[in-house]
Symmetry: C2
Subunit: 292 residues, 2 copies
């Protein structure tokens, strides 16, 4: 059975492990803080490659940032990573084939292969974390657009400049549906600038009405965003992943979405491929690409 | 050279003509008011088939309403057409192959084959008329989603229920970017319930500041909608078609869009395949499907 050494390179952490062609994690999961220089990032990766490359057939890399259509390099600047990250020639790390893909796309692929969107030719995955990521599966493939950067969940929730988004524009879905968005909504509705997302979910859980209203407002924005995506893509399902997804009532969202869309009914699901779905997806993509 | 008899079946008019495999119109363009019963619609079509089927290789039908992925029948209810239109078995009209596709998708295909998005593997076409239509080209094919209904331009411009859309929901792109949307914006900004889109474009043309502001507001909503689509699809281009497209300053929209998107630069273009792009697209799709 083929195996991949697979990495997840994020703004704060780097992970690596080994997976097999079924998507099972068969190695230790090793974890590092993301260093501040490209050379140090490379050192972590090269050490792992040196240690494990004889045990695997290929190398997969799930990374922050948009990845080109050839799956060889990062094409966007990623605020969370070192500024010269785009110069990283991933193929230089090993004589084995190296397959690079954006982390949200990798996670969507893991859901498609072994998770919530298995057997769904058309799906949209939305990762709700500190920010919002997007991965689109069309016709059983990751949709990347002309350059590789597609699937950015920066579409408007309002048209009158209310809330600035991390992208520099205003009122993107990310600015409302993310954890940061929930905190901002909580600040606005509570008048407390120090309120945390923890305060909201904990308070709502204990029955505090204001906290429940804040959480409902956050979920409403997510619902309205999903309605747009469902009308545009007519997908088999929409998968919610990331640390904030657990606070979404997917049954209620699904009901509201299907009540409003003009396309055919869709399904709203929580991701099931787990916390390491980025690494699993990258590894599976790397193994798949060996087939040519 | 292969030829298609091709129809455009809309809520108010039915057209038919003959096109060749280059997309050139080589027949007379015949026009009818859309009758009030399915039987009368069929009669118009059957008369044309009887008259022309010996001169062509296939039959294309561009129709209002979502069309299934097999391109054989309409799957959605279309408010503008007779209620039993979905029962229409299009293949029954002729022994020749009959290829059916949604009118916005047909128009997008005509732009892809002979118009503004030629040689663009990834594009989104937005038809700005009384309503708003959408046609998405992905990987050189029409994107239809799981059921055939994809490409509906019903995503939110606001999240606080300001303006009802024809789809029954609130604040869809269609409710702001359409001609009807322009009239509504004009009513709100002028306080005059009888103002027409003609008043706005004529007044703006003559330098009336309020009319210029109204048109700018309408264009702003279009720009913000396009920003979302460009971030989601990372397309080669976005094509604007329909009777209202001529009033959009595409250069300005392109500049604003490229200034704001997080994906790579895209191009905003006016459609060039002409008023009969629906028929041309349907005919070209019908001819293409003969190739298997």
């Amino acid at each position: 059975m083929r195996r991949a050494l697979t990495f997840d390179i994020g703004g704060t952490k780097i992970y690596h492990t080994i997976i097999d062609e079924n998507g099972s994690i068969i190695g230790d999961i090793e974890k590092y803080h993301t260093p501040k220089s490209l050379e140090e990032i490379k050192t972590i990766i090269l050490n792992a490659v040196k240690k494990y490359e004889n045990e695997v057939d290929t190398i997969g890399i799930s990374t922050a940032g948009a990845v080109n259509n050839e799956n060889t390099r990062v094409i966007s600047s990623t605020g969370n990573l070192v500024s010269n990250y785009r110069e990283f020639d991933f193929q230089s790390i090993s004589k084995l084939p190296v397959y690079v893909e954006n982390d949200a796309n990798c996670a969507a692929w893991a859901e498609y292969e072994i998770g919530a969107s298995k057997n769904c030719p058309y799906s949209v995955m939305i990762t709700l974390g500190t920010g919002v990521g997007g991965g689109i599966i069309i016709n059983n493939k990751i949709y990347k657009g002309k350059s590789g950067a597609a699937g950015e969940m920066h579409f408007k929730m309002y048209s009158d400049k209310r809330r600035k988004c991390t992208c520099g524009a205003y009122d993107c879905f990310e600015a409302y549906a993310s954890g940061t968005g929930l905190k901002k909504t909580a600040e606005e509705m509570s008048g407390n600038p120090d309120i945390t997302t923890y305060d909201v979910v904990e308070g709502a859980d204990k029955g505090n009405q204001l906290m429940k209203d804040i959480l409902a407002k956050w979920q409403k924005h997510i619902t309205l965003g999903i309605i747009g995506l469902a009308n545009i893509f007519d997908p088999d399902c929409i998968v919610l992943s990331g640390s904030m997804a657990q606070f979404v009532d997917t049954k209620e969202v699904e009901k509201e979405v299907n009540n409003e869309i003009v396309t055919t009914k869709t399904s709203i699901r929580l991701a099931t491929a787990g916390n390491y779905s980025g690494m699993i997806g990258a590894g599976l993509l790397a193994i798949k690409s060996l087939e040519g």
